[in-house]
Symmetry: C2
Subunit: 364 residues, 2 copies
C-alpha cells in the first residue's frame, strides 16, 4: 500500500493507493475521525453501483456505520443543480449533521457532484473520495468540486479538500479499455509538465499499464497524484502556477464541446490538445523532438494524436473564444519548453491556433 | 463615518458605517482592488430596487463600472436553488470572470443569496455587502451565506467573507416601522450576550434609535457589528463560542416555523425567544432581574415579550425537535448568566421548555 500526502497546511490529506483497500474502508474512516455516531452519505452512479455498491455498504455496515445512498445517472448530466438538490434531499432525510461525511464512490463526475454537496451541506462537511477510474487520479487531487450551469461547465462550485482519498486499484480492473487508455492521458500530462523521467517511465511501461498491472498502476497513480499535489500545494486557488495543469486543455475543451461532449472522452480530447500544444511550441522555435516524443507517447497508449477531419475548424475556434483563457484576441496557452517542462504563453493569436488545427487534421 | 474591522486573518474586512456612503460606492470598490476592468453583478430585490437601484447604478456607472443587475422577489422564497440558478445565469451572461465581484444591495435574504452566488461562481469570487436594513447588521458580519432547501432553512451554503461592507444609514430611513423595531432585536441581543453597558445604552437611547437618529443609529450598528465580529473572530466556523449568537434562536426559530414564516418577523420571534431564555435562566436559579430587565428592554422597543395564545405548545415543541441543537431528549440552550453574559447549557429537558412556553403564553 502506498500513501501520498497532499500538503495543504491544515487542509493536508493522504491518498492511499493499493489493492483491496475498499475492504478496510471502515478502519480508514475511523482513523480519520469519522465515527459511527454520525450518518454517512454515499454517492455513486448507476454504472458503479452494480459493481461495488453492495460490497462497500457491507463493509461500512460491518464497521457499524449508518449509510444513506444516493445513486445518480452515470455521465456528465448528473452534474446539474437539480441532481445536486436531490442528493441534498437524501442527505437531509438521512439525518446527516455537521459531523457527518459524504463519500464519493466513482469517477470524476461523482467526485465533483458529491464534493460540492459536501462543500455546501450545512456550509461544509467532511468529504472522502473513493475513485474508481484512472482519470480520477487527477480530479481527486486539488479540491476542485463543481456542478455545471446549462451555459457553462463547472461554473458553480467550490474548493473543498477531502479528508482522505482511498484508491483501491482493484476497482480499476473492470474499466472498459477505452476508458483505461483515456485515463492515462492525464497521467502522461503530469509527466509532460513536470517530470521527464516519469514521462519516459510511462512510455516504457505502456504495455504493462494498459494491462492494468497492479504494481505499475499503483506507482503511476502515485506519481501522477504526487505531481499534481506538488503543483496544487504551491497554488491551491489557481492564482498562477496551477494553470500549467491546463496543458492541452484549451484545444481539448474545444474538441469536447464541438464533439457534443459524447464523441470524445476527456482524456482523448486533451491528448489531441497536447499534440496541438507541442506543434505550437515547435512553431515558436522549440525543438522538433518535443512533437515527435509527445506523439510517440500518446501513440503507445493508443490515444489519438490527430484531429478527425470532420471537425469544423471554425467551430473549434468559436468554442475557443468561449474559453475563460481568451482575452483581447490573444489566448493564454501552456506550451512545452522540453519534455517535462512547460511555460505559460500569453500572446498566442487565433491565426496560430487555426494553423495548428489544420495541421492536426492533415495528420489524420 | 465609522470604520470597523472584522479581524479574520487574511480574510479580514472593514465595515464602513455612515451617512451618504452609497454616493461613493465606486471609490470604495476601487480602494478594495475591484477595478473597472471586470463586470460587476448587483443583486437586489423588488422592494429595494425602486428605492435605491437607479441611484446605485448611476454612481457605479459614473465611476466607470459595467454592471449586470439581478432583481429577485422580496422575501425568503428568493433563497431557493432555482432563484440561485437564475442569478448565476445573469452572472454568466454578463460575462463575470474570476476578478469580478457580486454586490448585495438589500437585507439579509439578498445578502445570503448573493453571498452564496459569490461563494460558488467559478468556485468563488469577491463579495460586497450593502445592507439596507438594521437587521442586516447581524448577517453582514461573519460570512454565513446560504439558500434554503425545501426541507430546511439555510441548509445549502458556505462561509464566504465579503471584501467590505458599506452601510449607508440613509437607506434605513425608508424602512417600515415594524422592520425598524424588529431590526433592533439582534442589536439588543449583542448587548445581552456580551456587553451590559451596551444593553443599557440601547435602553436609554430607545426613543432616538426608533426615530432613526443617524448618529445613534451609526453607533448602535457599529457596536452591534463589533460584538458579533469579536465572537466570529474567535470562532469563524462555529466550533464553539459562536453558538452564543444563538441566544433566543432555538425558541425563536420554532415560533417562526409555527407562524408559517409570515406571522412573525425574525426579530420579533427571537425577542420572544430571548424572553424564554431569561425565564429558563431564572428557573435554573439565576437572578430574577435578568427576566425583568430583558423584558423592559424589548418592551421599550415595542417588541413582543410574550407568546400569542393561539400558537400551539405541542407544535412549537415539535418544531424544536427538528432543530439541529436537539439530542438525546436534551436541548442545547444559550442561557443568560447576567445581563451581558451567557452560558451554553446542554441539559435542558423538553419539559422545562414546555413549562416556559406555557408561561410565555400566560404573559400575553
Amino acid at each position: 500500500m502506498r500513501t501520498l500526502m497532499v500538503e495543504l497546511g491544515e487542509r493536508s490529506y493522504p491518498i492511499y493507493i493499493g489493492s483491496g483497500l475498499l475492504n478496510d474502508l471502515g478502519s480508514y474512516l475511523q482513523k480519520h475521525g469519522i465515527t459511527t455516531k454520525n450518518s454517512l452519505l454515499l454517492v455513486t452512479d448507476d454504472n458503479i453501483a452494480p459493481l461495488y455498491l453492495e460490497k462497500t455498504l457491507h463493509t461500512l455496515q460491518q464497521s457499524g456505520y449508518r449509510v444513506v445512498t444516493s445513486i445518480v445517472n452515470a455521465g456528465e448530466k448528473a452534474k446539474s443543480l437539480s441532481v445536486f438538490e436531490n442528493v441534498m434531499t437524501a442527505a437531509i432525510e438521512g439525518g446527516l449533521d455537521r459531523n457527518s461525511a459524504v463519500l464519493a464512490l466513482g469517477g470524476g463526475v461523482v467526485g465533483d457532484l458529491a464534493g460540492f454537496v459536501a462543500a455546501s451541506y450545512m456550509r461544509g462537511i467532511r468529504f472522502v473520495q473513493i475513485p474508481t477510474t484512472i482519470l480520477a487520479h487527477d480530479s481527486s487531487v486539488g479540491g476542485k468540486v463543481a456542478v455545471n450551469h446549462p451555459l457553462a461547465k463547472n461554473m458553480i462550485g467550490a474548493f473543498h479538500q477531502p479528508v482522505m482519498v482511498l484508491y483501491d486499484v482493484d476497482t480499476l480492473q473492470t474499466l472498459p479499455m477505452r476508458e483505461v487508455k483515456a485515463g492515462y492521458s492525464e497521467m502522461i500530462k503530469h509527466g509532460l509538465i513536470w517530470d521527464e523521467a516519469f514521462a519516459e517511465w510511462c512510455l516504457n511501461q505502456a504495455e504493462s499499464l494498459l494491462a492494468l498491472n497492479r504494481e505499475d498502476l499503483a506507482y503511476g497513480l502515485e506519481r501522477g497524484c504526487a505531481i499534481k499535489a506538488a503543483v496544487v500545494s504551491e497554488d491551491e486557488r489557481e492564482n498562477g502556477l496551477r494553470a500549467i495543469l491546463n496543458l492541452g486543455h484549451t484545444i481539448g475543451h474545444a474538441i469536447e464541446a464541438v464533439g457534443g461532449y459524447g464523441e470524445f472522452l476527456h482524456g482523448e480530447a486533451i491528448s489531441i490538445g497536447m499534440m496541438g500544444s507541442a506543434l505550437l511550441a515547435v512553431k515558436r522555435g522549440r525543438d522538433q523532438s518535443i512533437y515527435t516524443r509527445t506523439k510517440q507517447l500518446f501513440g503507445r497508449f493508443g490515444l489519438p494524436t490527430s484531429l478527425p477531419k470532420h471537425l469544423d475548424t471554425e467551430a473549434l475556434i468559436h468554442a475557443l473564444l468561449h474559453d475563460k483563457k481568451f482575452k483581447d484576441n490573444k489566448i493564454v496557452f501552456v506550451l512545452p519548453v522540453a519534455i517535462g517542462k512547460v511555460d505559460i504563453v500569453t500572446d498566442i493569436t487565433l491565426d496560430e491556433v487555426r494553423e495548428v488545427i489544420e495541421q492536426l487534421k492533415e495528420e489524420a
